[in-house]
C-alpha cells in the first residue's frame, strides 16, 4: 500500500508540475507478451500522463497474466532519445501489482483458505517509436519485468474425530522475472 501511495504521490507531484507548466497530455495503449520460466503470458496496458521535451511520465495500469493474473498499477517514466516522432526511447515502470482474486477457498486433501498478496512490480526496457496516423506514434519495446507475489495458505487438516483441528499455515513467495515485449499506440 505504501508503494501505491508513493506512486500516486510522485504522479501527483508531476501533475502539479505539469499543470503549472501547461505541459501536453500523453497517453498510450499497449499489448504484448511476457516470457519467462513459467512460460508465455499475455499482457495489456493503458497509461496517461504528461510530456515535457523528451521526457514523459504517466500513471499506468494493466493486466498481467504471467504466473497469476494480476493488475499492475505503476508510475511510468520515459526518455526519448530525440524530440521527434521517430526515435528510440528508454523507459522504466515501478509500482505494485494486485492479484485478480485476493482470496479463494480450495478443497483438496483438506480445506484451505488462500489469501493472495500482490507485491512489487517493476519493468525497464528500450523501444523504438514510429510516426503513425495523425499525431500518433506506433512503438515497440522490450524490457526486463519483475513481479513479486505471495500466497498465505491456511489449512484445516483432517481430524479423525469431530472437533476443531489446529490450523496449519504456510506461505509461498514467488519472484517472477520475465522478458516483456510490447507494442502499442502513443497519442
Amino acid at each position: 500500500m505504501k508503494r501505491v501511495l508513493f506512486v500516486v504521490a510522485v504522479f501527483a507531484a508531476a501533475t502539479s508540475f505539469a499543470q503549472n507548466k501547461k505541459l501536453p497530455l500523453e497517453g498510450a495503449v499497449q499489448a504484448g507478451m511476457l516470457e519467462g520460466e513459467s512460460g508465455t503470458a499475455f499482457q495489456l496496458g493503458l497509461r496517461g500522463g504528461f510530456k515535457f521535451s523528451t521526457w514523459s511520465t504517466a500513471i499506468g495500469a494493466g493486466l498481467d497474466y504471467y504466473g497469476v493474473r494480476s493488475i499492475p498499477l505503476y508510475l511510468h517514466v520515459q526518455k526519448r532519445l530525440f524530440n521527434r516522432p521517430q526515435t528510440p526511447f528508454a523507459y522504466i515502470n515501478g509500482g505494485y501489482h494486485f492479484p485478480w482474486k485476493s482470496e479463494e477457498a480450495r478443497w483438496s486433501s483438506w480445506s484451505s483458505e488462500i489469501k493472495r498478496n500482490g507485491g512489487l512490480y517493476y519493468e525497464a526496457g528500450l523501444g523504438y517509436q514510429f510516426s503513425a496516423f495523425t499525431n500518433k506514434a506506433l512503438f515497440f519495446a522490450a524490457g526486463y519485468s519483475f513481479k513479486r507475489y505471495a500466497e498465505d495458505i491456511l489449512s484445516n487438516r483432517f481430524c479423525f474425530e469431530p472437533g476443531p483441528c489446529p490450523n496449519y499455515r504456510e506461505n509461498f513467495t514467488y519472484r517472477m522475472r520475465r522478458l516483456s515485449i510490447t507494442t502499442g499506440l502513443r497519442f
Partner: protein, 419 residues
Amino acid sequence: MKKLLHCLLLATTAIVLLSLQGCLKDDCRRTYTLYQPIYKTLKHVRAEMKSTAPASLENTGKLNVFGNYIFLNEVGKGIHVIDNAVPASPKNIGFINIPNNVDLAIKGSYLYADSYSDIIVFDISNPTNVKPVKFMDNVMKEKNVYWYPMLSNPDSIKVVVGYTTKDTTVDCNTYNTLYTTDNRALDAALASSSYAAAPSVGTGGSMASFTIINNFLYTVSASSLYTIDISNPINPFKTADRNMGWGIETIYPFQNKLFIGSRTGMFIYDLANPANPVQQGQFNHVRSCDPVIADGQYAYVTLRGGTACNSTINELNVIDVSNLSNPVLKTRRTLTNPHGLAKDGNTLMICDGKDGLKIYDAADPLNLKLVKTVAGLETFDVIAMNRKAIVVAKDGLYQYDYSDASNPSLISKISVNKK
C-alpha cells in the same frame, strides 16, 4: 550518422535482452512451521495430570456443563475449569493437563477424560484441586500410540506432550520431501474431541463422543462403541467393546437409547442391557459429518460437507424415530456448514459454522421457522438449557440468554487467545 546510432541502439537492446536470459528465472520460497514432538515418560505425564493455574483458551473443543462449572476441552492439551456461578462474569479457575485429550463426561464428583487410548478418572469434588484417581490403560485401542506388549512400565513409555514449532523457509522445490516428513509430526499433533448428558451428570454437546447414562460411560472412537461400568467411580471397568464400522463420530443419550452419528448414517442402540448395548435401528445418509440429537419422536441430524467429511452436502435432516427400528427422513433444510446443535423445548439451535448460531422455532419440527441468526461468530457446538445457551466458537466461549429467542442477548464471552 543517425542510422548508425539507431542500429547501435537496436544492437545494444538485443545484447542486453539476450544477456538477461540468465536472469529470467522465477523463484519460490515456502515458509512453513516445522513441528517437533516433545516427549515425556508416561509416569511423568500422569504425575502432571492435575489442576494447574488457569490457561488461556486457544483451540477449544468440547465442553461439559456440571452445576455451576463449565469444563471446556483444549484440544489435545487438557481441560479448562470455568466457574460459571455468575454467567455474566465466568471465571477461568484452573486447567487440567491431559495430553491428547479430546473428550470428557462427568457424573457426581468424577470426571472421565481420554488421553490417547487411556481413560482417566478425576476427582473434581474440589474444582480448583482436581486429582486423578484412576488410570484405565488402553481402553480405546484404536487410539493407542504407546501401549505395546513389550512396553508396560510407565517409566519406559514415551508420550508426546506437545510440539515445538519453528518457522522455516526453504526453496519450494524441496516442498514434497518436507511435506511428507513434517506432516507426520503435524498429523500426530492433530487430536480431536467430544461430550455427554443426564441429571447428576454433566451436560455435553451434540459433538460429544463421551456420554454417561446411569452407571455406564459410553464412548465412541472412529469404529467402536465402548461401554464402561462406572458404578464404582474409582474402579471402573470395560463391559463391552463393539465394532461399528468406520466413521463413527458422535454419541447422544436420549431416554434409554444411544443415538450415534457416523459418516454414513445414524445408529440407534438400545440399552435394555446397559452393559452391552444392542443396535435397534439405523438410518443411512450420504457420506458426511453428522452430529445427532433426539427429542422423542424426531432425531435431528446435521450433515456437514467439506474435505474431511468427503461431501458437499450441508443440511439438517429431521428424522421420524417414533419407530426406532425404522427411522424415516421427514424433511431437510439447507445450511451452510452445520456443526453441533441443541434443542430446548421448542427452540432448536444449530451452529452453522461461519454463519453463526441459527435459532429455530421447532414447535412443528417438520416446518422449522428461522427466528434469529446470531452472526459474527464461527460456531462449533452449543448446549442449550434453561433459556441459556453456551456456545463454543472459534474466537471464544459465548453465553446467551434466549428467553426471547428472536432477540438473544449476550451474557458473557471468554475470548480465545489469538496467536
